[in-house]
Structure formats: structure tokens, C-alpha cells
């Protein structure tokens, strides 16, 4: 049977289970409350209310979507193994690569759905206040999703050898914060030398560089650095390499 067809079936099922899960709804409600609560901060900014609403809304969307992505990615395969749901999958002609691909794609779609719903909530608030959207808004949302793709792939890989969901979430959250330190890492590398400099370089080179995707912070300004082709290649590498490493761990796994 077609490899991608099976992956598509698994992706669709993963998406369905994720959005029907009560935690999905809880995250959305939480996001709605916080986004609307940011009105208070916006009012205090007087004439910069529009900017504050946009910035706080996008920041909340990113952080909430991140929390959801980490929890979903850290637990998705582990939970199936623990509940033995995976028996009903791998007693069937399902190639393990297709399963992993489907699970990862399902998580990507779940993140996209969550971001889309939160965007609608945010847009409703902006419309309520009569503010136009800034030109960089949709780019910012899409780039948030790109960051989530990278961190989700990494979380799935880490979940395959980690001892618990909490440790997976913790490790991936640390990677997330380190990934935003690109600029500060450059500064520190210039100021340091010897072993410290090498350690910083290793960290900066091989942790996902989220500074490249921080369109939310740059606003309408274009990011300095690699162009769009490289960015897509970079995202693809950060999907395919964790996927392949996950496959190495997973293909000989027993259930």
C-alpha cells in the first residue's frame, strides 16, 4: 500500500484525536481569555494600543501553541505504547517510517489548527477595537508555525529515548530558549575565548536557530541573513534529521 497514503491516514487520525481532546479546547479557552485580557495592557499604552495588542496577542499565541506542541509531541508515541494502542497499528502492514511520518505530520497539522483558531480570536479582538492588521501579521503567524515544526520534530525524537514526558518537555523547552539566543551567542562568542568560545560555538551552531524565524519580533523589517530558499532548506533539514534519528531508534523497537 502506498507509503504516503498510510502516513496520511495516520496524520489525519492524529489530528482528529488531538483536536477532539479536551486539552485542545482548554488551551484555546485559556488563549482566548489571555488575549482578551491583553486589552488592559493595550489601553494603558494609549496611542500605541494597536501595536501592544498585536505584540501581546502574537506572543501569547506563540507561547500557548508552544506549550501545547511540546505536550502533544512529548506524549504522542509514548502514550500509544503505554496504552498498547500501538499494537493495533504495528500488527498491520504499517511501515514504521510511515507511522512516524504520519504522527509528525499530524502534530504539525494540530499546531497549525491551534494557531489558526487563536489567530481568529486575536483578529476578532483587533476588529472589535477597530484596528487594522499590520503588514507582517500573517508572516509572523506562519513563522511561529515554522518554529513549532522544528521544535515538534525535536520533541518527538527526544520522546523516543527520554524516560518521561516531563523530561522531554523540559529538554525541548531548554532547546527553545537556547534557539532564541542566537544574537546573544554571537555577542558572547566575540567576548570569549578558548574552551568557552568553542562551547558557545557548538551550542550556537547545532541548536535550531530560531532567530531566523522571529518575524514576530522584527515586525515589517526584513530579517538580515539567509534568504527564503535557505530557510526552507533549513526547516526541511530540521524535520528530516530528527525524523531519521527517530527512525533509527524506532525501527528496532519492540512493543
Amino acid at each position: 500500500m502506498n507509503f504516503f497514503l498510510i502516513a496520511g491516514i495516520i496524520a489525519s487520525q492524529t489530528l482528529g484525536e488531538n483536536y477532539k481532546n479536551r486539552f485542545f479546547a482548554i488551551f484555546i479557552v485559556f488563549a482566548a481569555v489571555l488575549i482578551y485580557a491583553s486589552l488592559l495592557v493595550g489601553v494603558m499604552a494609549v496611542d500605541e494600543e494597536a501595536r501592544v495588542l498585536v505584540d501581546s496577542g502574537l506572543a501569547l499565541m506563540e507561547l500557548i501553541a508552544l506549550a501545547y506542541a511540546l505536550m502533544a509531541a512529548a506524549g504522542t508515541i509514548t502514550r500509544e505504547i503505554e496504552t498498547k494502542t500501538i499494537y493495533l497499528v504495528f500488527s498491520r502492514p504499517v511501515p514504521k517510517p510511515a507511522y512516524l511520518l504520519g504522527k509528525t505530520a499530524g502534530l504539525y497539522l494540530s499546531c497549525a489548527l491551534m494557531l489558526a483558531v487563536m489567530s481568529l480570536i486575536h483578529l476578532s479582538l483587533m476588529a472589535l477595537r477597530g484596528f487594522a492588521l499590520p503588514v507582517f501579521y500573517f508572516k509572523a503567524v506562519v513563522f511561529i508555525w515554522f518554529k513549532l515544526l522544528i521544535i515538534t520534530s525535536t520533541a518527538v525524537f527526544i520522546s523516543l529515548f527520554s524516560t518521561s514526558v516531563i523530561s522531554t518537555v523540559t529538554i525541548t523547552a531548554i532547546l527553545w530558549t537556547l534557539g532564541h539566543f542566537t544574537q546573544e551567542a554571537k555577542f558572547l562568542i566575540e567576548k570569549s575565548s578558548g574552551a568557552a568560545s568553542w562551547a558557545l560555538k557548538a551550542t550556537a551552531y547545532f541548536i535550531p536557530n530560531f532567530g531566523l524565524f522571529n518575524a514576530r519580533d522584527l515586525g515589517a523589517r526584513a530579517a538580515g541573513g539567509p534568504g527564503p530558499v535557505f530557510l526552507f532548506i533549513y526547516i526541511f533539514l530540521w524535520f528530516i534529521v530528527p525524523y531519521l534519528f527517530s527512525l533509527l531508534l524506532f525501527r528496532k523497537k519492540e512493543f
Binding site: Q13, K84, Y87, L88, F90, S91, R92, P93, P95, E254
Partner: protein
Amino acid sequence: MNATGENIAVFSGVTKIYRRRGFVSTLETTALNGLSFELRAGEITGLLGLNGAGKTTIMKLLTGLLFPTAGSVSVFGLPPADIASKKRIGFLPELPYFYPYSTAASALLYYAGLSGLERPAAEKRLEAVIEKVGLKKHAGKKVSEFSKGMMQRLGIAQAVIHDPELLILDEPVSGLDPLAIHEIRTLISGLNAQRHTVFLSSHSISELEKITDRVLIMVEGRLAKTVSRQDWERARGGLEEIFVQTVKSDGS
């Protein structure tokens, strides 16, 4: 019995050791030791043993969920992990668990899709299978609302939806009421009548007596005895007496 004599699954000198790595040492548990047997096409073969005898391990080795530490397993002449062999088997694990937010119908369609059925064919099979297992009026219900017996029925449904040649059923009547047990027994017999091979494990000796052609008795990871229907029909105490004697003599 509809046996045609052909071996569709073969265990040859299979040993399975579970290893658990600790801080200092590795804990090893031998689940199976030098196990050899065959499953013949068209037969209903039972697997009987105490808890920890290795029954579930055998089931998982047949389905490719586990790999043997030594020896070999073949299903339809292929390794169990081979996609081609998996297309022809249906597996019911002990206490099957489904995605909680799916309905019975959507779960079955999902598994049918994974087994290679195209959507129209899957929907057609779904109607027939869900009626057969007695879940027609619960088809639209979420799995999280199912009772244990309903989950078991759904488990059997997912095992047969793609019409596999070999059915591997781990405790198929576990948790079912007597009426449901009778229905499942009828279902299994009906499948065998259509030349499906069935391999099932159970703690219920009477169930195995009613339905199987022969029974493999496992004691501490070894095949202690193979008993045919004629053997236990001849024995005074039936299969139970043979089982107890086998366990006592082999275990000592």
C-alpha cells in the same frame, strides 16, 4: 475443523529473553525457551498456560511486535515483521485499547485503511463486521463510553475487518458475559468455516475445549504438551485434567 495441512506459521527453536537494564546490572527474564511448533492452515489452535507462561509473547512474536532472541519465526513463509505477512493476519491483543475520542465506526475505518482496504471496500466491510460483533447500534458512540465487553467486541471487529487469513486472538472472551461469549464463539467457528486459521489463547479451558482442534500447553516458557481434540475427548477429566497433570509434572 478445516485444516488443509499446510503450515502457515512456524516457530523453530525460538527463545525470547527480556532484558531490563539497571544501573549496575541487566535483569534478564526468559519468556520462551527453545519453542517449536506449527500452525496449520484452516485449524483452530488454542494456547493454554498459567500467567507468565509466555502466551502473549508468542502472540507478539507472530505479529512482529517482538523479535526472537534466538531461533526463527515465519508467517506465510515470511518474517512476521514483513509487511506482506502482516497483510494476512488479524490480531486481537488482550484488553484492546482504542483512541478515546474516536467512534466505533471511525476506529474501524481507520484500522481498515491501515490494513490496505480502500474507503468504499472498508465501508462495506464495516457494515457487515459491526453487525456481526453486535455493535451496530453503538457504531456512532465514542469509544471512551464503551464498556469492557463492548471494547472486546470492537477489538474482534478490528481484527477481522480486513478479512485476514490468520487470526491471532489473545484472550478473545475476556470480560464478556455468557451470551457474548457464545456469540464470539459462533463468530470464530464461522470464520474457521470460511477457511480462516485461528490461533487463540485463553484461561478458560472449557472455551478451548468447545472450539479448538488442538491445544498447546505452555509451562514456564516451554511447550510442555500438544493435545489434540481426540486426546482430551478420550481423557476422563477432559482437557482440564490433562492441563493440570502437565503443569504439575512439568513444573516440578
